[in-house]
């Protein structure tokens, strides 16, 4: 991939806007499946809350993303309360929420007509991949220094919040699929 000049801030127009959005959610880990409802809500103070419950209403976790990089766990079930699980979920959601995309030391690469807008993180890089005109968002990637680790796609709808989201991990069996439940 070659480095190119492309204004990384062009991706901001793809940033999803969540008001209070409910998603039918399936999480698959190593062949096991958990399903439920994921609520993503922007609070009056602009922080974003993400709450995942099963269909009966039992809450799996309740996270808050605020400021530039604040992350708070309001609650989490013991089975998920493990550092690698929390870190993975946190980073996946940060990718989806366009966190740490203030331009800083961002750069752009070209690969076969796709433009990779890279935003270095504490470790690794988050890429937002668009067409050459930065007119459509093809996918998002979290990469280590050598290869992609997570790939995410979302399919927007008219309201600005995604209609569906797919997140898949490359180095172990873990996928998250979200499908928007429209409000009546």
């Amino acid at each position: 991939m070659e480095k190119i000049n492309s204004d990384p801030s062009c991706i901001q127009k793809f940033r999803p806007v969540f008001q209070s959005d409910l998603y039918r959610t399936t999480v698959e880990v190593n062949g096991k499946e958990i399903t439920g409802l994921l609520l993503i809500k922007t609070m009056p103070d602009s922080s974003i809350r993400i709450v995942f419950s099963n269909e009966f209403g039992i809450k799996f976790f309740d996270f808050e993303f605020s400021g530039r990089d604040q992350f708070k766990i309001y609650s989490i079930v013991p089975q998920m309360d493990k550092k690698p699980v929390i870190t993975t979920l946190r980073k996946d959601f940060e990718l989806l929420l366009f966190k740490h995309t203030d331009t800083g030391n961002a750069y752009a690469l070209r690969n076969n007509g796709e433009f990779f807008h890279g935003f270095p993180q504490e470790s690794g890089v988050n890429y937002y991949v668009t067409d050459s005109a930065c007119g459509s968002l093809i996918k998002m990637q979290r990469a280590s220094s050598t290869k992609p680790v997570v790939e995410a796609k979302f399919f927007p709808d008219k309201t600005g919040s995604p209609d569906s989201v797919d997140i898949s991990h490359k180095n172990f069996n873990f996928t998250i699929a979200l499908k928007h439940i429209p409000k009546k």
């Binding site: 609520l39 809350r49 269909e55």
Partner: protein, 210 residues
Amino acid sequence: MHKLIVLLVLVGITATVRAQYPGYVQLNDPVAFKLQFSAASQTIQTIQSDFTQEKNLSMLSEKIISKGKFWFKKQNLVRMEYSEPFQYLMILNNGNIYVKNGAKENTVGTKSNKLFQQINRIVIDCVKGSALDNPDFIAKIFEGKTNWIVELTPKAKTLGELFQHINITVDRKDFTASVVAMYEQGGDYTIIHFINKELNATIPDALFVH
């Protein structure tokens, strides 16, 4: 002076208990209630009803409302089918929990999972009325004009992490549950209302098979 203090403390305790569920008084001796409950449960072979479930995320001022249909058949068969705002089916049968979520299916044998066993048991107990005999909970009973509230507090740590307590509102008419309210640590709660209840209608076994 000593007697006055004791009296004030007793009044305070009683007042606190009364205020816990306004309009309800705690039964200090629940034996009579348990006997009536048990006798009524013997006469119930099946229950079918509609339900509305309201999940309250109190800090977020959000309610998630879902609806569906519910079936119970003695001794331990339960079918809970959500139709709005998503399709989701759960069948409890012979110690197994079968779940169908959209097109995907999954069966969990409760024998291998203690938490699932406990949840399986709570669901059946709430419906069947055997909650009072469930050793995983401390039960308190509060009597009101048209119903009772059975308050269940988990003894075990694992269940206690999920729920602070579960309240079952039992109809005076027929001793069946009309409301199940699950209160989580942290202020969130889920309330399930069972409506349009039909008792002892014929329900085919096929409904509990997948």
